[in-house]
Symmetry: C2
Subunit: 302 residues, 2 copies
């Protein structure tokens, strides 16, 4: 993966919330040569970030990344001094509700984002500057998004080592329902049904049960907020899984196997700096790897 | 875990089929000081076993372990010279159909078994003498099972490093439907539904999708045979998962979380050599860790 060479023009980055995601992002950007100012209400999180070269302060400009839990997004900037020209982005796991909440306030200055990473750990002690390396990072391109601001956010994601998936908020929420929110519900149902089957079943549980229920260890309040915050797409995606479970088993097993063993070939493409073309790349399963002068370079499944 | 000290009385073990499970078992038993004779139709598997100290031959006595795929169980001994007094056991993943097929032939000499381990790898190259260490090994105790033969099979499992779960074939099949067969179907449905959602969804897939679909990489012919070989219990367990998915999400997520985070405390118990008492241990989620003179020692959830 090519990373963009930091230039004099790369805007400063402000990160609000220095937990696992925000702290990791701030550290990754410092390592990539960007100027990063961070803030967190927790002094310990501020100290941890400072130890990684992050400037600690309340004055933010350039690209301001809101790295707080979703319920705190609306008030995250309340006591901070933010340049009124700054581009604002977030890292929340759902995008239509966040766009509704922040789009009204920041208008065309808001560009929603969602890096597809993170672990079951959380907090500033779980900070890892490598967290985003090789991850996909959805960056929302709505009809009203200002493309230069979208590019600034995309460059932050690229600088952290991720590849950028251009999406609309609606496309994003439908996709993550299928690949993230429904898996949490299936895992919970599998665990609860096994417990109903009795202590013998749980005593015999091994590999397939362990991997099938791994995510159930996550904080249930967090998981509930996640699925309820994306309720419509999650219900639709769950109906899709139920429909699959109605298929004859040999057909179902073969279909699932074909998905996880599909060829992973990619071809490099150049995409003009145009909303329609960028969204088409995302819909094709592709991603942007670097920005060049008048286009971006990325890949799509071959 | 205490392992039984091998004594002069420990019977020889014959292992038919020296792939991942059989080869690993033969190697583990050799390492535990047992005399093991192994056979496989594949010369390469025989050579690999010989290199681990397994005698290669067709004359089998003591406890004869059938470690072939289930469809081959009925003919596995056809060209071999087996002591008519030998106890016969198997490692198949379903027990009622195997008991129906082999119980008629071997009568009270047959004791079904199923070690809850194995990986997505297979064949003699995947042999690992540590494979059974810490695993649960279901050993079937039917109304007609001769207890001394059950104990001989249990001692083979203990010698390989596993703990022994006394079950009936029917209890076993219901339990593995819930914790092994249904997880394979859920994982396939999750993968197939995500593919239906489109390339964007698969491109954004990360941790929860990866663990939720891990087992879909297994050979689909093997998985189909597994679920169809346990069709009734698997359909019942799948209905249990569907019922869980009808619950309100906060309740479902909390229930699943409570299962995977339940206390893992154990207390040691002594169980008389009595079918009713042994099966009660298994139903309570317990397992046998070692055999003493007139009882076995094991544990149950505290």
């Amino acid at each position: 993966m090519s990373l963009p060479v930091p230039t004099m023009e790369a805007p400063p980055v402000g990160v609000v919330g220095l937990g696992q995601l925000g702290g990791s992002l701030a550290a990754a950007l410092v390592a990539a040569g960007r100027t990063v100012t961070g803030w967190d209400t927790d002094p310990a999180a501020r100290e941890a970030a400072a130890a990684r070269g992050v400037r600690v302060g309340r004055e933010l400009s350039g690209v301001v990344v809101l790295a707080t839990p979703i319920p705190a997004l609306a008030t995250a900037l309340d006591d901070l001094d933010v340049d009124p020209a700054a581009t604002v982005t977030d890292l929340g796991s759902v995008k239509v509700p966040v766009l509704a909440a922040l789009g009204e306030r920041f208008g065309g200055r808001f560009v929603g984002g969602h890096p597809m990473c993170g672990t079951e750990r959380s907090g500033h002690a779980a900070t890892d500057p490598q967290l985003f390396r090789g991850a996909r990072w959805a960056v929302c391109l709505e009809p009203g998004t200002e493309l230069p601001r979208w590019l600034r956010v995309a460059e932050v994601a690229l600088a952290a080592g991720a590849s950028v998936v251009p999406v609309t908020a609606g496309e994003h929420d439908a996709a993550v329902a299928a690949i993230s929110h429904v898996p949490h519900l299936l895992a919970a149902a599998l665990a609860a049904a096994a417990a109903d089957a009795g202590p013998l079943a749980l005593a015999l549980a091994a590999g397939s049960f362990g991997s099938g229920t791994r995510v159930v260890g996550s904080d249930p309040a967090f998981v509930t907020a996640m699925v309820e915050g994306n309720a419509g797409p999650t219900a639709a995606a769950l109906a899709g899984v139920r429909a699959q479970l109605d298929r004859p088993w040999p057909e179902l097993v073969a279909a699932g196997h074909a998905v996880v063993t599909r060829p992973q070939d990619r071809r490099t493409v150049r995409v003009p700096l145009d909303r329609t073309a960028l969204l088409a790349l995302g819909r094709a399963g592709g991603a942007v790897e670097r920005r060049l002068a008048a286009f971006v370079e990325g890949w799509v499944p071959a």
